[in-house]
C-alpha cells in the first residue's frame, strides 16, 4: 500500500494542476484516503501555419518575445537562424517553419520563441503564436504513423483530440536529439 501511495505522490508532482480527482470506493475502504489522477499530459499549444501543435509543458523553460539581435552561425542550415544571449546563456534558435519547410511568414507582434530544455540544452523554437495550455487525457492521444499534415512525420509523436480541436504533438526529444544535431554538420559538408 505504501508503495502505491508513493506512486501517487510522484504522479502528483508531475500533474499537480490536473483537474480530475477520482476517489474509488476500494481505495477509501482500504485506507484513509488516496487520490489518483487519470493518466495524461499537460501541453502548451502553439500555432504554426494552419495547424495547432502541442508540446509537453515540462520541457518548456520560458517564452520570450523575439530577441533584438540574433547572430547567424556560419555553416549551419537556414532553419538554425542564429544564436542569442538569454541572460548570459548563448542559445540557438530554430525556425520551425523553415525546419518543416513551410512558407516563411513575416514576424509580427505575436511571434514568440519557446525556450525548451532537452538534455540540459536550452534551445529556442520560433512559432507563429502561443495559444493555450491544455490537459489531454492519455486515452485521447492517438499514436499515429500516417497523418495528413505538412510536417515530416518523424517529428510527430501523435495527435491529441480535445473537445473541439486537434493538436499535433511534437516529438521534441527527437527534434532536438544529438542525432538530429549531428545531421546539421553533415548538411554542411554536402
Amino acid at each position: 500500500m505504501k508503495s502505491k501511495a508513493k506512486d501517487v505522490m510522484e504522479n502528483n508532482q508531475n500533474k499537480k494542476y490536473l483537474g480530475s480527482v477520482n476517489l474509488s470506493d476500494e481505495d477509501l475502504e482500504d485506507m484513509s484516503l488516496e487520490i489518483s489522477y487519470s493518466e495524461g499530459t499537460r501541453l502548451i499549444t502553439f500555432i504554426l501555419g494552419e495547424e495547432k501543435y502541442g508540446l509537453d509543458i515540462l520541457k518548456v523553460r520560458e517564452l520570450i518575445s523575439f530577441p533584438e539581435g540574433l547572430t547567424r552561425i556560419p555553416g549551419m542550415p537556414d532553419f538554425i537562424i542564429g544564436m542569442f544571449n538569454l541572460r548570459g546563456l548563448v542559445i540557438p534558435v530554430m525556425d520551425l517553419r523553415k525546419k518543416f519547410k513551410m512558407s516563411s511568414e513575416e514576424r509580427h507582434e505575436f511571434s514568440v520563441i519557446i525556450i525548451v530544455e532537452v538534455d540540459n540544452k536550452n534551445i529556442g523554437l520560433t512559432v507563429d503564436s502561443v495559444s493555450d495550455v491544455i490537459f489531454v487525457k492519455e486515452e485521447n492521444i492517438q499514436e499515429t504513423t500516417d497523418l495528413a499534415v505538412n510536417v515530416d512525420t518523424n517529428f510527430i509523436k501523435g495527435v491529441a483530440k480535445t473537445k473541439d480541436e486537434m493538436v499535433i504533438l511534437l516529438d521534441i526529444d527527437f527534434l532536438l536529439s544529438k542525432e538530429e544535431f549531428d545531421t546539421l554538420l553533415e548538411d554542411k559538408s554536402e
Binding site: E68, G69, I73, P74, G75, M83, N85, V90, N122
Partner: protein, 775 residues
C-alpha cells in the same frame, strides 16, 4: 558519496597522500633524514586516525601496518632502503585504491593491498635480521613515547596541527638526546639552520664615502633566507632630504646553515665607531624567517590578520587548521614574500610612532626590540609555528565556475550599462553624465572582482610537475636507466582546469623522454655523458602565457630519419625541401608515430598527435626541437586561463567575429602589389618579403562582405604554431577581454568556431577557431 564527513576525509587524505609521496621520494635520496621520517609517520598516522573516525576499519588497519614500519624506522631499527621506499610508494597506491572505493563505490583493489602487505611482511622479516642496532637507550624511547602517546591517546581524533605543534617542542629535546645515540640522523650532520637577528645601523654619511649597505645586504642574502625590516623613522621630509645621506636602518633576520663566523666576516668591514652593526643568534627555531619574530609587532593594538586562502591543492591540513595559541603575542600571518611587503607597511607605521615616542631608548637598545628578549624561547617557538598559519577553506570547483560565470555576466552588463548611459546622455545631459560617472566607477570594482576570481582559480603548476617525480622514479627503477628529474618554476600559477588537463600530456612527454630519449648508463658513458640522464621540467610565465618545457639530455631525434620515414609513409615526396622546424612537426601527424618503427630508429614514441590535440584544446601550442645526441626539448605554451581571453573583434559583412588576440600577429591594409595570385594555391600576401597564404574570411563563413578586395579592407595575420595565415576582413572593431562560452553548452561544436562570447551590446559573437582556419 553523500556523507560530507567522508567526503572531507577523502579530500584530506588525498592531500596527505601527495605530501606522503613527496616525502617518500625525498627520503629515498636522504634515507637518514629524521625530519622526513617524522613527516611520513605523521602523514600515515593522520590517515589511520581519520580512517578510524569515518569507520573505514580496513583502511585504518592497512595504515596501521605501515605506521608500525615507520615507527621502527624512527627508532632506528630499520634504515630506509630503496625497497622500503618502493614499499611505501606501493602503499600509497593502496591508499588511493581505498579512496577510489570510498568515492565511487565498488571494490578496493584487494590484489594490490595483499601484495603490498605481503611485501611489507617480507621486508620486515629481512630488516629484522639485518638490523644491526636495536635501540636501547631509554631516554630516547621515553621521548618518543611521549611523542607517540600524544597521538595514541587521541585515536578518535584526527591529528590536528595543534597537537603536532606540541610534539614539535618535544622533538627539539628528543633530537638533542639522539646525539648520544648510535643512529645518526643526517639532520644533525648538515649543520642546523640557525636564525640570527641583525641590527644594521650605519653612519649617515656612509653613502657619501662611497660605501653602500646594499652590498652588505646582498652578501648576507647569499648565506640564507634574509627577512628585513627597514626603519624609516628618521627619514626627513622630501624637501629636507639629502639624497647623499643615509637615514634608514634595518632590523633583519637571517636563517642560515653557515656558521656565525661567516656573518662576522661580512659584517667586520662595517664594524667601526660610526656604524652600529651587530648580530646575535635568535633563540627561536629557524623554520620561518617570519617578521613576527623580529618582535616589531609588539604593540597591543596590532590587529590579527587572518588569511583566507581558497586554494584547494596546496593547503596542507596542518597549515589549514593550525590556529595560533592564545597565550602568544598577537602576530600577523606572513605567508609569502609579496604579502610580507604589505606587512612591512604596517611595520613602518608602527616603527615611526614608536621612534617618535622614544628615540633615545631606541638608540640604546642594542639590537632587536625588547619583547623578543623578554619572551622565553619556548614562547617564540610557538610563535614561529603560528606564523605559518594560513586559514583556508575548501570550495568545490563548481562553485567557482558559477561565481566566475556570474562575474562574467557582470562584466558584460557593465558594457551594456555603458552604452545605455551614453544613450541617456543624448536625452538628458545631466542624468547621463551622472550615470556614466557611476558606471565608470563601478567598472573598476567589476574589473577587480574579475581579476580576483581568476586569481582564486589559479594553482601552482608545481602540483602536477611534482607528480612526475613518482613517474620518473618508478620508470627508472623498472628500466635500470638512471634518471634525474629537475623541476624549476613549480610556483608558476595556472588556472586549475588548465593545470588538471595538462597532467595527461605531461606524463606522455616525460615518458617519451625516459623511454626514447635517455639512453642507458653504458651507452651514456660510452658517449661521454653523465651516466645519469637528466629530464628537466621548467615552468615560467611569459607575457600572459605559461611556458612549460620538458627537456632531456638523451640521444635526440634524427631529423633525417623522420624525413625518410615521412617519405616512406607518403607524407612527403623525396624531392620536398623542408626545414628543420617543420620536420619535427611531422611527429605530430596522426598515424606518423603510432608505429614502433620510430622508436627503433630515432626514438620518439607514440601518440604525439594526441598530446598535440590535448594542448590545443587548452588553446596552447606545442613545439619540439632536438639536437642529435644532445637531447630533445618540448615547449608547451599555455594561456593562463580558459575562461577569459583577450579578443580582437573583427567585422565581416556587418557580423562581428572574435579572434583570440594570442593568435594575432599583426594587421594591415595591403597595397595591390602585395597580393599575389598563384594557380591552384590561392592568394598570397607578401609581408616584408614573406609570402603568407590569404583566406577570404567571408567566403569561408559564407557571408556577403562589404569589401571585395583586401586592398579596401584589412588583413589580419594570425599564427598557429609556426604557421601563418592572412585573414581578409572588412574592419577591426574592438579589442578587449571576452568571456568564452562553450557552443556545446546549448548546441553543438560547430567547425571553425571555438566558442561564443557576448559583446558589449548584448549580441553574440563567435570566436574563430584559428588552428582550423590556418590548416
Amino acid at each position: 558519496m553523500d556523507n560530507p564527513a567522508l567526503e572531507e576525509f577523502v579530500e584530506e587524505v588525498e592531500d596527505i597522500l601527495e605530501d606522503l609521496e613527496d616525502g617518500v621520494l625525498l627520503l629515498e635520496g636522504q634515507p637518514n633524514k629524521r625530519s622526513l621520517i617524522d613527516r611520513i609517520f605523521r602523514d600515515m598516522h593522520t590517515i589511520k586516525g581519520g580512517a578510524g573516525m569515518v569507520m573505514e576499519t580496513e583502511l585504518a588497519e592497512y595504515a596501521h601496518h605501515f605506521e608500525n614500519l615507520l615507527d621502527k624506522a624512527r627508532n632506528g631499527e630499520i634504515v630506509c632502503t630503496p625497497e622500503m621506499a618502493s614499499l611505501l610508494l606501493g602503499s600509497i597506491d593502496g591508499f588511493r585504491s581505498f579512496m577510489d572505493k570510498i568515492r565511487e563505490g565498488g571494490e578496493v583493489n584487494q590484489v594490490l593491498i595483499d601484495q603490498t602487505l605481503e611485501q611489507l611482511r617480507e621486508f620486515e622479516k629481512n630488516a629484522g635480521k639485518t638490523a644491526t642496532k636495536p635501540i636501547a637507550e631509554k631516554s630516547v624511547e621515553k621521548t618518543k613515547g611521549t611523542d607517540t602517546s600524544q597521538f595514541e591517546t587521541t585515536p578518535d581524533e584526527k591529528i590536528k596541527p595543534e597537537q603536532s605543534s606540541a610534539p614539535e617542542e618535544k622533538k627539539i629535546e628528543s633530537v638533542k638526546s639522539e646525539e648520544q645515540e648510535d643512529v645518526q640522523w643526517d639532520d644533525d650532520d648538515e649543520g642546523e639552520e640557525i636564525a640570527y637577528l641583525l641590527h644594521l645601523k650605519f653612519d649617515s654619511e656612509m653613502l657619501g664615502k662611497g660605501s653602500d649597505p646594499i652590498l652588505l645586504i646582498k652578501e648576507l642574502t647569499e648565506l640564507g633566507d634574509l627577512a628585513m625590516i627597514p626603519h624609516l623613522g628618521s627619514l626627513p621630509d622630501l624637501k629636507n632630504l639629502d639624497p647623499e645621506e643615509l637615514h634608514i636602518w634595518w632590523s633583519a633576520k637571517l636563517v642560515t646553515t653557515h656558521p656565525a663566523e661567516e656573518i662576522e666576516n661580512i659584517l667586520i668591514f662595517f664594524q667601526d665607531d660610526k656604524n652600529e652593526v651587530n648580530f646575535e643568534a635568535a633563540e627561536s627555531p629557524p623554520e620561518d624567517p617570519g617578521l613576527a619574530s623580529l618582535g616589531i609587532y609588539n604593540e597591543p593594538e596590532n590587529k590579527e590578520q587572518k588569511q583566507i586562502n581558497v586554494d584547494d591543492s596546496e593547503s596542507k591540513p596542518e597549515e589549514a587548521e593550525s590556529i595560533s595559541e592564545p597565550e602568544t603575542e598577537p602576530k600577523e600571518g606572513t605567508e609569502s614574500k609579496s604579502e610580507s611587503e604589505d606587512d612591512d607597511d604596517d611595520g613602518f607605521e608602527k616603527e615611526i610612532t614608536k621612534e617618535a615616542d622614544s628615540p633615545e631608548e631606541e638608540k640604546e637598545s642594542k639590537s632587536i626590540p625588547e619583547p623578543e628578549k623578554k619572551s622565553p624561547p619556548k614562547d617564540t617557538a610557538k610563535k614561529d609555528t603560528g606564523i605559518k598559519t594560513t586559514q583556508s577553506i575548501r570550495v568545490t570547483i563548481d562553485k567557482l565556475d558559477n561565481l566566475q560565470n556570474l562575474v562574467g555576466e557582470t562584466v558584460i552588463n557593465q558594457a551594456r550599462l555603458h552604452l545605455l548611459s551614453e544613450q541617456i546622455m543624448r536625452v538628458d545631459d545631466n542624468l547621463g553624465e551622472m550615470l556614466l560617472q557611476f558606471v565608470e566607477d563601478n567598472e573598476k570594482s567589476v574589473q577587480e572582482l574579475q581579476d580576483q576570481i581568476l586569481q582564486v582559480r589559479m594553482i601552482p603548476v608545481g602540483s602536477i610537475l611534482n607528480n612526475m617525480k613518482r613517474t620518473v622514479r618508478d620508470y627508472a627503477t623498472r628500466s635500470k636507466k638512471k634518471i634525474r628529474l629537475e623541476i624549476e618554476g613549480g610556483d608558476t600559477e595556472l588556472d586549475k582546469t588548465v593545470t588538471e588537463q595538462l597532467q595527461g600530456p605531461l606524463v606522455h612527454l616525460v615518458r617519451n623522454s625516459m623511454d626514447h630519449g635517455i639512453e642507458d648508463s653504458e651507452t651514456r658513458i660510452k658517449n661521454g655523458k653523465d651516466p645519469t640522464g637528466t629530464i628537466s621540467l621548467k615552468a615560467s610565465q611569459q607575457e600572459g602565457y605559461v611556458i612549460v618545457e620538458i627537456e632531456d639530455d638523451g640521444k635526440g631525434i634524427d631529423s633525417k630519419v623522420i624525413f625518410d620515414l615521412a617519405v616512406r609513409k607518403g607524407f612527403l615526396n623525396e624531392t620536398d625541401e623542408i626545414n628543420e622546424e617543420d620536420i619535427y612537426k611531422l611527429l605530430f601527424m596522426p598515424g606518423f608515430t603510432t608505429a614502433t618503427e620510430v622508436t627503433d630508429v630515432s626514438g620518439r614514441g607514440v601518440g604525439m598527435d594526441t598530446v598535440k590535440r590535448d594542448i590545443e584544446a587548452l588553446l596552447g601550442t606545442i613545439e619540439i626541437s632536438s639536437e642529435l645526441s644532445k637531447g630533445t626539448s618540448t615547449k608547451l605554451k599555455l594561456p593562463l586561463t580558459l575562461a577569459i581571453i583577450e579578443g580582437m573583434m573583427i567585422d565581416v559583412g556587418h557580423q562581428v567575429f572574435t579572434i583570440p588576440l594570442l593568435s594575432v600577429n599583426e594587421s594591415l591594409r595591403p597595397v595591390p602589389k602585395q597580393i599575389k595570385k598563384i594557380k591552384n594555391k590561392g592568394e598570397l600576401v607578401e609581408i616584408r618579403g614573406e609570402y603568407i597564404p590569404m583566406l577570404r574570411l567571408h567566403e569561408r563563413l559564407n557571408i556577403k562582405p562589404r569589401f571585395k578586395e583586401p586592398t579596401e579592407g584589412l588583413v589580419v595575420v594570425v599564427q598557429h604554431a609556426n604557421r601563418k595565415q592572412c585573414l581578409f576582413v572588412d574592419e577591426i572593431v574592438d579589442q578587449g577581454p571576452v568571456v568564452i562560452k562553450s557552443m556545446e553548452d546549448n548546441f553543438i561544436q560547430v567547425p571553425g568556431i571555438a566558442g561564443a562570447t557576448i559583446l558589449g551590446d548584448g549580441r553574440v559573437s563567435f570566436i574563430l577557431d584559428v588552428p582550423s582556419l590556418v590548416n
